[in-house]
């Protein structure tokens, strides 16, 4: 598979994955470009991997983790949610926005696990391969992420509003 073929077949999924990892559309675009540029330079190695897609997603997760490590803070970059267009669906949209904000407060690794599990619908074995850890670590990270969400004060408010 050539680099161009890879980007055409997997690029969209990578960008969507990056949007969920970063919570910022522009940062996601930049992150994917950065990772794909690196993959381009070492395409011989990437394409030699058993599953290049997993390899590149691992690069993406590592690049995002490095970014936050460099920032050395818990700063959260969140695009402002669009205003609700209808009072009927406003509450549901607000709930989703609030949950999204909570997700973005999670540690980057926990967020990556939840995205891979509940958006990409990957099993723990593949997630472990992408993150370079054991399946036990994946399970405990996911559990910790879910518990962190439940423990947030605004999560209780979110649930009681239903």
């Amino acid at each position: 598979m050539t680099f161009e073929e890879f980007v055409h077949s997997r690029g969209a999924a990578l960008v969507r994955f990056a949007r969920l990892l970063t919570g910022d559309e522009h940062r996601a675009d930049d992150l994917v470009q950065e990772v794909l540029a690196k993959a381009f330079v070492q395409w011989k190695r990437v394409s030699a991997a058993e599953r290049p897609d997993i390899y590149v997603r691992r690069m993406l997760v590592n690049a995002n983790t490095s970014f936050w490590r460099r920032r050395s803070s818990s700063e959260v970059s969140v695009a402002a949610p669009p205003p609700s267009s209808s009072p009927d669906i406003g509450a549901a949209v607000a709930d989703r926005d609030e949950l999204w904000r909570l997700i973005l407060t999670l540690p980057v690794r926990a967020r990556a696990v939840l995205v891979l599990r509940y958006y990409e619908d990957l099993d723990d074995v593949v997630i472990a391969e992408i993150l370079g850890c054991s399946t036990t670590t994946v399970r405990t990270t996911a559990l910790r992420g879910l518990n962190l969400l439940r423990a947030r004060p605004s999560f209780s408010t979110l649930r009681s509003s239903r």
């Binding site: 980007v7 690029g11 969209a12 470009q33 330079v41 590592n62 997700i103 850890c133 054991s134």
Partner: protein, 370 residues
């Protein structure tokens, strides 16, 4: 059974993943960025292929530069220079050495002074198509290539910088235990199960010093030979064809990296990267290449900096940048990160001087910052 929260997560992720993606644009942008990565010849970590070096060198040799090899008139694909890294010159590869520092050898100071390297790799770093020397906080590295295979030798006093160096090669070793091989002295070899052909060796060449060889495909026997040529009795001084007359308040030299060619190319210089700043985030990176390497700022503001024509722009990594297209024969790109915004980047650019002859390594300054 899936819980309500898990269902909500799936819904939120689905709604937040966004709209369609233009993969044509993405492929074009990533390819262009990848090519720029290559052209900048950032070879120090060994991730850039030898072909990338050839691309840089091709640009160098195809353009006129006093007394240097004539530019081939044929296209790059048929140029005898286009694959120079594949064809050893008649006299053999010969990368010039960095100047020796006038300080006693002291391996305990590895990673403490970015202007120095406290080790050498006999023969292999000379008999190479290119060699990169890099010194930064906690780790010193010499990278070179032979037979289209790159080797990176790193020395550090703790294991963390060595792990980080591997991670930057996308060789995440967490969760994998190295397979020990019996060479004595704690030598380990690691080969990922998924990526055959890439390995590292790690050993302790002196008390309190850790050494590592990373290769992207070379034979283990070569790594063994390199290991036997790592010497700690010589201190080298990182050099570049530029110097800075001033630094921003609180800044110091954070990292020095120089890449030279093993073939008789103009000036031998492939690239130098100096980083000055307060830490690994708040800093300016000064990248120096020959003026003929491509520059591609799209939206630029021309002005005069340090008496030279320069452009101010935001580069493809969103960094505030100043670029000199031709500063006494050199292309110099200054980019800031962290708190180093345009005014600081401009002040760093203002302090750059090119007193040396870029084509004559012996004239390059050995003290790069005040």
């Amino acid at each position: 059974m899936i819980t309500q929260l898990e269902q909500d997560l799936a819904d939120v992720f689905g709604s937040r993943a966004g709209d369609a993606v233009d993969t044509d644009t993405l492929a074009a942008a990533a390819t262009a960025r990848g090519r720029r990565l290559r052209a900048r010849a950032v070879t120090v970590r060994g991730t850039v292929t030898v072909v990338a070096v050839a691309a840089v060198a091709l640009v160098l040799v195809r353009l006129p530069s006093g007394g240097e090899p004539a530019a081939p008139s044929s296209s790059s694909s048929s140029s005898p220079w286009s694959d120079w890294t594949q064809h050893r010159p008649p006299g053999g590869w010969a990368v010039p050495s960095l100047p020796r520092a006038d300080v006693p050898a002291d391996p305990s100071k590895i990673g403490t002074d970015p202007s120095l390297l406290h080790f050498t790799v006999d023969e292999w770093s000379v008999n190479s198509s290119y060699t990169t020397w890099q010194s930064t906080a906690g780790i010193e590295t010499i990278a070179f290539a032979r037979d289209s295979v790159s080797y990176t030798v790193s020395l550090a006093r703790t294991v963390e910088p060595l792990d980080l160096a591997l991670a930057q090669e996308n060789m995440d070793i967490s969760g994998h235990l190295p397979t020990p091989i019996d060479h004595g002295g704690g030598l380990h070899v690691f080969t990922t199960g998924k990526m055959q052909g890439f390995f590292y060796l790690r050993w302790q060449p002196a008390p309190g010093v850790l050494a590592q060889i990373f290769s992207d495909g070379g034979p283990l026997s070569a790594a063994e030979q390199i290991r036997s040529r790592v010497r700690l009795d010589t201190t080298l001084r990182c050099t570049a064809p530029v110097r800075l007359t001033a630094l921003p308040a609180g800044a110091r030299l954070v990292s020095c990296e120089t890449t030279l060619a093993g073939s008789d190319l103009p000036g031998r210089l492939l690239s130098c990267i100096l980083r000055v700043g307060e830490n690994t985030v708040d800093q300016a990176a000064i990248t120096v290449t020959h003026r003929h390497t491509s520059a591609s700022p799209s939206a630029v503001t021309p002005l005069t900096v340090a008496g030279q024509q320069a452009t101010v722009f935001t580069d493809d990594q969103w960094r505030p940048s100043v670029e000199f297209a031709d500063f006494n024969g050199l292309r110099i790109h200054v980019a800031g990160t962290g708190s180093y915004k345009s005014p600081t980047v401009l002040s760093v650019a203002e302090s750059i001087r090119v007193d040396a002859d870029p084509l004559d390594l012996s004239t390059w300054p050995t003290h790069l910052v005040p």
